[in-house]
């Protein structure tokens, strides 16, 4: 079942909504909001996959953490 929410259309929101509808040739506000939400989520997912891609590219000795490793470098120990 669909739920309805009411949001205040502030001048800033109105301007951004108009820009989005114009840029993507969308007529309905609801479609513009759907698009904005999915785009923002897609960015997060994309960045998460980038983090995964670079993770494990180096190895620290033993069970050292990055904090201890950098601390020992900076303290010259």
């Amino acid at each position: 079942m669909n739920q309805t929410i009411t949001i205040r259309l502030t001048p800033k929101r109105e301007r951004l909504l108009k820009l989005l509808k114009k840029r993507f040739n969308i007529k309905k506000n609801s479609e513009a909001i759907d698009l904005a939400l999915s785009m923002s989520f897609k960015d997060d997912a994309d960045y998460r996959s980038r983090l995964e891609k670079v993770s494990g590219s180096i190895r620290l000795k033993g069970k050292a953490t990055a904090v201890k490793r950098i601390r020992s470098l900076r303290d010259g120990m």
Binding site: D43, D44, Y47, R48, R50, L51, K53, V54, S55, G56, S57, I58, R59, L60, K63, A64, T65, A66, V67, R69, I70, R71, S72, L73, R74, D75, G76, M77
Partner: protein, 154 residues
């Protein structure tokens, strides 16, 4: 917003250590902003890679930019470092106990390097060139650069 990323965050991600989830969450949270590092951070990362090309690829993947020419606020950095030197105590890096090491032979007080300039250079860079820093080790930044914003996961 421009955000400085401290070495420990990136080493944690690159090595996927036990702090990975926190580091990745921080980077992910602010990923719509611009991430930068300076030469100190770059070199601290560089020694963990077999070559700098591999590091460059990893930094590009995360859209983290090395700033080679940047504004240096020497006054702020020196004031903070001076403040640290005045308060400096010898602390065991393992248990945190404050100690006064003395040579058992000549009874001379011993000194060893703790907290060299890197922390202050990085904090000074972050303060002058970005809106704040993300780090896993914020204590000294908070103590000696109280105006520097430290971005958190919450």
């Amino acid at each position: 917003m421009i955000i400085t990323v401290d070495s420990n965050i990136l080493i944690s991600v690159f090595s996927k250590d036990s702090l990975y989830r926190k580091s990745a969450a921080l980077l992910e949270k602010y990923c719509s902003h611009e991430y930068i590092i300076n030469d100190c951070i770059y070199l601290e990362l560089g020694i963990h890679f077999s070559n700098l090309k591999a590091l460059g690829v990893a930094l590009n993947t995360l859209e983290i930019r090395l700033i080679e020419e940047y504004e240096r606020n020497y006054n702020e950095t020196l004031n903070a470092w001076n403040n640290y030197l005045k308060k400096k105590k010898f602390v065991c890096p393992s248990c945190g106990k404050v100690i006064n090491p003395i040579c058992s032979n000549c009874k001379q007080r011993l000194s060893f390097r703790q907290r060299i300039l890197t922390d202050f250079l990085i904090a000074g860079f972050a303060s002058a060139n970005s809106n704040g820093i993300i780090t896993l080790d914020p204590t000294y930044y908070r103590n000696y650069f109280p105006q520097l914003i430290i971005f958190e996961t919450n």
